[in-house]
Symmetry: C2
Subunit: 342 residues, 2 copies
């Protein structure tokens, strides 16, 4: 990847001439070209077919010229490869819950590289299409979030099963998390070896945890994942609902902290200090509002950053399927026009 990438420079907290922008879940249902692809192929078929995954990865880059691409995939690809069979209807539903020592024992941590060889293949395919013009982010679910899906057997409203496991049988939870962390390390290392320019961990469910549990069941496993990956590839850790754990997040060995929309970006930077880049944090629902509100809110976030190096503009959560693509243009133009005043 060219040294000139504003995205990679911002990841490293280096000054950039403008603020880079990409969008969580930027390849997705809000795009007509993605819906057209999905009419011909199942969701998991796209994930598992390198040419199709690369095509989906490129769609938002072609349309918007964003500053980073992110591999089209799903955080549950790894769960599947570990033997936790999952279907999308359209939300994920597991055949069985991984909520007992015996079920944890049955999960496979070895053999994950072979079972997910289509993922680094998709990285290579997408890198070829991007031709060095746009950096590519590889990713995985953070262990706690993947484990939560496994224990709940899919999505959940109250998350009582995972919470119950953490407090009733923390040893079993730790065994599960260690196994997932080991597999995740292999999985991300393979993406880095295939040429991913940055790596991201999504910890969407970490907001279920208080500070003590966050440290033990979210941050610790993330550190075990990252210990397995060569440190020169920038790492991004995104979590949701974890404002009360921001100091602990600031001690993770990552260059970039992804912020949800629930906190003031400037206040978060004050806590994290000048050595951590941040990514975020426009509320995805803002893109459903009128263009003048998109402009105003986007500028408010850029102003909250206050010209500090190391800000990657993004949403605070994935883009909503009902978003009009024009709203992304408005966001993009607002970011492109912004010049930091000293």
């Amino acid at each position: 990847m060219s040294q000139a990438s504003v995205f990679l420079s911002a990841c490293r907290c280096q000054p950039t001439e403008r603020t880079p922008l990409w969008i969580m879940r930027q390849a997705g249902r809000y795009l007509p070209e993605y819906r057209a692809l999905r009419e011909k192929h199942g969701f998991m078929d796209i994930c598992r077919t390198p040419e199709l995954a690369a095509e989906a990865t490129l769609q938002p880059i072609r349309r918007f010229g964003l500053d980073a691409a992110i591999l089209f995939s799903d955080i549950l690809v790894l769960a599947q490869a570990m033997g936790a069979e999952v279907e999308f209807r359209p939300g994920p539903v597991f055949r069985t819950r991984v909520d007992s020592p015996a079920a944890v024992e049955r999960l496979a941590a070895a053999g994950v590289r072979e079972a997910t060889a289509f993922v680094p293949a998709a990285v290579r395919e997408a890198r070829g299409l991007l031709a060095g013009r746009t950096p590519l982010i590889g990713f995985a679910g953070a262990p706690f979030t993947v484990a939560t899906y496994m224990v709940e057997g899919g999505g959940s409203r109250n998350f009582e099963r995972i919470k119950s496991l953490l407090f009733r049988d923390p040893g079993c939870a730790e065994t599960l998390l260690s196994k997932v962390a080991e597999a995740t390390g292999e999985y991300l290392a393979a993406q880095a070896e295939a040429g991913a320019d940055a790596l991201m961990l999504f910890d969407t469910h970490a907001g279920l945890l208080g500070p003590e549990e966050f440290d033990r069941f979210a941050a610790g496993p993330v550190e075990r994942v990252l210990a397995r990956i060569r440190p020169e590839v920038p790492r991004i850790y995104y979590s949701q609902g974890t404002g009360g754990c921001l100091k602990r997040i600031g001690r993770l060995p990552v260059q970039v902290v992804g912020l949800d929309y629930r906190m003031h970006l400037g206040a978060a930077r004050d806590v994290l200090g000048p050595d951590r880049a941040v990514q975020g944090n426009l509320d995805p629902a803002a893109l459903l509002g009128p263009p003048e509100d998109v402009v105003r809110r986007t500028r408010a976030i850029l102003a909250a950053n206050g010209g500090r190096p190391g800000h990657i503009m993004n949403l605070g959560h994935g883009i909503l399927p009902s978003t009009p693509p024009e709203a992304v243009h408005t966001l993009l133009e607002t970011v492109r026009e912004w010049r930091n005043r000293p």
Copy 2:
């Protein structure tokens, strides 16, 4: 109510000889005597029958001798009285969604006192049974949380309808919130007049909001509610997932801030300052774990308070139905045995 109540003194940030304790959702399914009551009566029948509501209110007081009782009721009683018909199966399901200007127009803000006269009647009944020995908390849902149920038509996993309304049609959302705030003010004033010793607003869904929207759609309506109630009755504002909005919460005209379990209680007190009491914040799932963990975690919270006046021990969210009642005894004994070291 006797001036000697440790709960009311703590609400006012006055020093107390020990830390008071009560438990959110303390009258509920984890209690065998409550399940016995529910075998004979429907949930809403209990809410609407003062003698039954008072009986349920007293159950945890008789069993545990907690430091405050809270009226047995539901935050959707008010929604119902405003004309949004709701059934419990067992989660709330509304007959129609209140998600358009026309639907908001149809809601009744007037006549709420008459339609909910059974609530102050239950307050009087419960006060009679409590006989001045234990203070009674009256409550309502905070406007944003009640409005969220109305707009979503019940519980939700992704809350896309309310988020969409807030950003697409904030004027309609404000009209809805104003109407709910007006009714909520009347509803709480009636409970205060009937003798409630403290009043609490539950804003369980406020964590859906970023700082700008929290200010406009959660905090503003709460202030409109509280402007309608005489200020000498202590007020408690509980919200969830709002750690990034704590400074704004600290400006609400309430004596007590209810904390969820996602933040360190001492850090929250540092932000809120010495004039605000706090309530919380043990993770409810902790009560599913072994007694020694309940003791350790409870002591950690008491220690985090560090002897400051104005701490009411509680959970950080409602007690889980699967909680063994013995765990509440463990919590209670740990709090009773605690002595603050200077």
